[in-house]
């Protein structure tokens, strides 16, 4: 079981770095949703099921919905090129 935890933690790190590096806002939001979902699995491994349910509902559900709606509002949903460096 310990190796599953190592893989999940590695996934967290990869997600965080790729959000920092990527230029497209939509892609970074989807990666952030995946990060939250993996985080809720990690709460299960840390024996805190309360936190797992809350993180899955809040982090991967409502926060992502809010981000997506904001993106729709500002019209960056289809923008291919962002001016980030």
């Amino acid at each position: 079981m310990i190796y599953v935890q190592y893989i999940l933690i590695l996934f967290l790190l990869v997600c965080a770095i790729s959000v920092c590096v990527t230029n497209n806002l939509l892609v970074s939001l989807i990666i952030f949703t995946a990060y939250s979902l993996v985080m809720s699995v990690i709460w299960l491994f840390l024996e805190s099921p309360d936190l797992a349910i809350t993180e899955a509902a809040v982090g991967a559900g409502v926060t992502s919905i809010l981000f997506f709606i904001t993106l729709k509002k500002v019209g960056k949903m289809t923008d291919k090129e962002d001016s980030d460096e």
Binding site: L13, I17, C20, L29, E47, S48, T54, T70, S83
Partner: protein, 140 residues
């Protein structure tokens, strides 16, 4: 010393994620990217707290005995006590539960501010917003 870092692998990873979130917050010019960085810093701190409460080989802080167990009446009357050796630390779970809900409320607040900024300046880039503000000051 380095071996201790590998023993405390959850803490180490949470510190690294905190750093990545901090760098995202500082280096990206887009406001939504900055908010995502802030969320990363949040979850890193929750991970740190929850890993301090974990104890190997113990289960979540929910009573093992089922309804109708003879021990349960004793626990409630105060004549017997549940075995502490069975459960992990419940305090960090309570703290983090509070933190997660607060984090979603401030994320919504930040996003509302971002929407208002976009309505005013038609961009989400910090540098463009600052240069437009400078121009407006010059005009007046």
């Amino acid at each position: 010393m380095v071996s201790r870092l590998f023993t405390n692998y959850y803490e180490t990873v949470s510190i690294i994620i905190f750093g990545i979130g901090f760098v995202t917050l500082l280096l990206n010019r887009n406001i939504i990217k900055k908010i995502i960085g802030f969320n990363f810093m949040d979850t890193a701190i929750y991970l740190f707290l929850a890993s301090k409460g974990y104890i190997t080989g113990r289960i979540a802080p929910i009573l093992l005995e089922k309804l109708g167990d003879t021990n349960l009446a004793g626990y409630q009357a105060g004549t017997a006590v549940p075995n502490v050796q069975n459960y992990i630390n419940p305090v960090p779970s309570g703290l983090v539960l509070t933190g997660i809900v607060v984090s979603v409320s401030f994320t919504a607040f930040f996003l509302a501010l971002a929407v208002r900024l976009y309505r005013e300046y038609k961009t989400l880039d910090m540098h463009e917003i600052i240069s437009i503000m400078n121009r407006e000051e010059n005009k007046e």
